[in-house]
Assembly symmetry: C3
Homo-oligomer: 499 residues x 3
Amino acid sequence: MKQALTYTFFLISLFLPVTSILAEEEQPITKPVPLSEETQVCILCHRNYTPGIVEDWLNSRHAKITPDAALEKPELERRISNDSVPEPLRSVAVGCYECHTRNPSAHEDNFEHFGFNINVIVSPNDCKTCHPVEVNEYSVSKKAYALENLQKNPLYHSFVETIMGLKEVKGTEITHLPASESSKAEACYACHGTRITVDGMKTISTETGDILVPNLLNWPNHGVGRINPDGSRGSCTPCHPRHSFSIEVARKPYTCSQCHLEPDVPAFEVYRESKHGNIFFSSGHEWNWDPVPWIIGKDFKVPTCATCHNSLLVTPAGKTVVQRTHDFGARLWVRIFGFVYSHPQPKDGRTYLIKNKDGLALPTAFDGEPASEYLIDENEQVRRKTEMKKICKNCHNTDWADKYYTKFETTLNETDKMVLSSTKLMFKAWKEGWADISNPFDEMIEHKWMTQWFFYANSIRFASAMSGPDYATFKNGWWELTTNLYELQDLVQSKESKE
Amino acid sequence: MKQALTYTFFLISLFLPVTSILAEEEQPITKPVPLSEETQVCILCHRNYTPGIVEDWLNSRHAKITPDAALEKPELERRISNDSVPEPLRSVAVGCYECHTRNPSAHEDNFEHFGFNINVIVSPNDCKTCHPVEVNEYSVSKKAYALENLQKNPLYHSFVETIMGLKEVKGTEITHLPASESSKAEACYACHGTRITVDGMKTISTETGDILVPNLLNWPNHGVGRINPDGSRGSCTPCHPRHSFSIEVARKPYTCSQCHLEPDVPAFEVYRESKHGNIFFSSGHEWNWDPVPWIIGKDFKVPTCATCHNSLLVTPAGKTVVQRTHDFGARLWVRIFGFVYSHPQPKDGRTYLIKNKDGLALPTAFDGEPASEYLIDENEQVRRKTEMKKICKNCHNTDWADKYYTKFETTLNETDKMVLSSTKLMFKAWKEGWADISNPFDEMIEHKWMTQWFFYANSIRFASAMSGPDYATFKNGWWELTTNLYELQDLVQSKESKE
Amino acid sequence: MKQALTYTFFLISLFLPVTSILAEEEQPITKPVPLSEETQVCILCHRNYTPGIVEDWLNSRHAKITPDAALEKPELERRISNDSVPEPLRSVAVGCYECHTRNPSAHEDNFEHFGFNINVIVSPNDCKTCHPVEVNEYSVSKKAYALENLQKNPLYHSFVETIMGLKEVKGTEITHLPASESSKAEACYACHGTRITVDGMKTISTETGDILVPNLLNWPNHGVGRINPDGSRGSCTPCHPRHSFSIEVARKPYTCSQCHLEPDVPAFEVYRESKHGNIFFSSGHEWNWDPVPWIIGKDFKVPTCATCHNSLLVTPAGKTVVQRTHDFGARLWVRIFGFVYSHPQPKDGRTYLIKNKDGLALPTAFDGEPASEYLIDENEQVRRKTEMKKICKNCHNTDWADKYYTKFETTLNETDKMVLSSTKLMFKAWKEGWADISNPFDEMIEHKWMTQWFFYANSIRFASAMSGPDYATFKNGWWELTTNLYELQDLVQSKESKE
């Protein structure tokens, strides 16, 4: 590596000092920020080979401030949560070399690259060097276990395999084949994450000639529950996309909308048609998206997803309203995404550990009975509800907020009852042998039933939670819930009439 | 109240003069604007308890201009339509106290709040103090009657109750229960409005301790046909959201898109894929959204919803093209939202007064015959069409516009014929006893039929009116209209074959 | 015409010099740009009669630069591709008269208008005066033949007529009528284009009195495959909307989203939920949308549709990455919009020339066999893939890009297999007489089959190509592909059981 550095310094002196370019092009936040010698070398090549990400990084906060300078800020303004960032990172910009060489022994994807030992993937465990509070919060959340919760829950696993697997037809019969890793990676696992492993090294042809790189399997991916080659869980880039790692992007609903979309999780669509969304889309371009802390009414006029679910908020007078959290369920008391009913939030991010009374890894039984010992209790629900309501009350009076939450509870109750009605028809079909419960996801009639809770009941709950009327009404709302119930009934009755 | 004021002046002198804060923070439109003593008191507390709305208001035009100053503007630039705003409102900003204390004797929700008698809800009748022309226009429109048109029309009422009501299942049979006020409030009535009544007083726990407030039923709500505790109809906030009351927001399509969405009223989606929408989304951030009057080509490049349906428009040379109207149907000659056919606009905003030849409160009979005496005549249709075309012709030549309108007429005709074809199948089913017309909305086959006119025929008409090709074609357009007709036929024929 | 000019000069001197207005209002790109005398006359009237388009043009580049000045720019910065623009166009702004009077003898729509001989429609052949390279590229693309590819392919023609035609019902039988030109013009042909012909002259009433104009049929329209009254194919305005002809608009995805929308071509929706879309929607308002060439990382942070499919891209160091092309398929190796399977791109824009082994004008047979002689070969596919990958590699490393493309190939393979499974069920139905293949688009069961490939398989492929997970999963993805296969099977089996 020393050799490479010497060679590079020669190159630098020959061409141009990268740091001075920086100083010219970018208005530094504090003062010109030194880049490590190693990062200067990275940039020297990658400015030619992947200029897009270099430019992106040059505009990022990481390029414009050192950890030392970041730690000088008042506590409430800090974006860094480790008081003791190790040398030699403290006094240089957070550059290529600084991030891509953390914890090399843990990284199966570490390899020698033009004289440097580099990790291909920067994992949350690497980001933890400067951001330990955020990573620790995230690492116990449902997001961190998004992949394992799919794979280790036999029912969810079967669901994924049934939907994503190839189907072959002979005559009028369908044969189910297993789902490919490739297709799962761009569908379910695109959001939930893949397990990235290293299958030795391989040679690839690049513009600079053949180079030897680790052969990563199930890569590329930036799902929230990704399992990384260092064994860590999760990914920071779905919300803070590389290489700008922008807080502005993370705070905008377009980020959440990568995954939280209809028909199963219509959070973005409901937000869009809400009064909050109306105002965000109309005037959000005038707000301040970067400040930490984020000032209610000054920096932004209405909440985005981040406001209610994870940001540190203060009033214009400087009073802290809620703390920042990177466990995005921390302020949630109920889980409205029902599989198959709504229910109190699970106590643990690892939902595959849940057992309901029928032995299935589901938070409720098919008849609606909750697996209570795995779910947060009434006290914790009240605590979280109170926390969330604090945010509402910066613009809405207490009575307004109370009534809003009461309405929401009624909706949970009613949609659960509608799901129960559908499930009774399904039970009848299973009991009478008109459908086969051994795989509850592989028949037409079962899909009618699933659609009820997976799409329509969920939509109405999201519409209630965030005030999007169309998703409670005609767009996947009560209209569809009712129509589809009639259709499910028709299917069951047609089976009945053939008896 | 005097006592409270004295106490408050002490507080003000102790802490900070709100008016001077204002002067510092905001560039006033004319000069520093005095706040009434009462509004200063409101702000003093609410800056702590609901800072978001205080900040929102501080940025609003209401905080930056007095009615007196507003009335000094040239007539075409005025946003205020009452020459004789009463004292003491004339010479202070339009603040909390000014709006929340209008017409107290009419307000069932008026209550004593820290020494002030306050209305919880500011109704259109209160806004009328300064904006009488706008409120009067609105109050006779279909929007003002949006709730009553649902509730007083037996057929619409039955439609709402059938769709929104809980359904219980025993065996394979469905029992229909009535819909809850709660669910209707967040679905149909979220757009149409609720009837807000006051059920005595109640104590609520707030940050400042227990306080006594009116117990409002069916609140919160900001539907366009809301019936307020002062008996007035409607709400200004769906389009001019509190507490900025922004004209910019009202002029952007995101506002209309809170309610005018697919699958029933795909106005926003059609606009989005139209050439107008293409240009708005690409360059709208560069336009002038605030000026009154709104100058074609200077302030904006293509129309938004507001441009064609309600704004006061002038040419760059200063010629008035169309007047402002807050009766949003005033420039419309035909109603393309067919229940069940398209038809001339109703003469009266109270559509529940209509009787068709079969005695139903529908603008057309199920066979298509219009209830002509309740609908505007040919002359009035021509007058409105001419008015609307004036707007088109600021960018399109006469022949272009004429052809456009002719195409639209053809589409109305063809979609009505397609609805008739579907209705003939439904009539057959009702006549033969394969379905029961006593409630035309509660059977699977009826939902197939409803989908034809409620979603697909409507979509094609909206797509034609505003040039969104996908909604005329594959997305809820002719493709679905045809597919669904085949499915309806299949259902009817399968009943037939069982005879 | 001379007489008209004299009269107009009088008017000009009487009122105001348009050129000086221009100089005041607009910051010219170089220096005040002279307008031709004729264009000044146009503007003098049209400022009153169609002020919107005049303002639009005044803000356009066409109003601010002469061809001579445009040709002085360094080659890479040029937006004009003809070194020898003819006099007298060279030294005046590109105004009304300059564009609307090109090639008059070819224009059936040329007519005498207040002393000038004007073409109503400016065609690509007219734009070719200054932009020949772009027009030539476009004119051999699939876009230029978008209309003829629908009309001259008997199968596509039958598809359009079946879907768009009126259906009458007698008893429970459906009679199919031919589709009207009017409805096709606002559905299929709104994107594909109409054939605009001139049916003599007619008198229309305008604000200036009765005037005589050509009677254009199938107008207005701005579909990409429009056939113009001068015999040329295509239209530049769908992407560069008149009269700003903005490159900014063309580069934004809202432009492509006029036509490339779900359910058949969900390019825009997939982009919106991709990481690229996430970043574009969050920070695109800060980018530079106008520069030519377009600098990766400097002007924009992530690609839009234009970036990958047609723009001239350079690195910050000035190296050209890819050339501009207005044949939007030029960098595409595979056609993912399967009718009915994905397949290599056709060699020729005129896809109606293709014959598959069954004699149908389809790139694959119903059993999946490609009509290879009409499609590009392996070498050409590799060449194009390499070209496209060059763009990816400005931000992604070689291995990342390689793996991405491999995943995409797997998806094409799997979705084609799923389509084959559905088609086998359909073949069974046709063979057994449960459906009639003579028109494969006019029965309920056939629509189930079509939905598989036309919507769901396509969605998954688009989702794979541009990383939009929801469109591979629940939103028209594998969930729907599987559910619909079960429904198709159910239909076929119910026919079987009736035997």
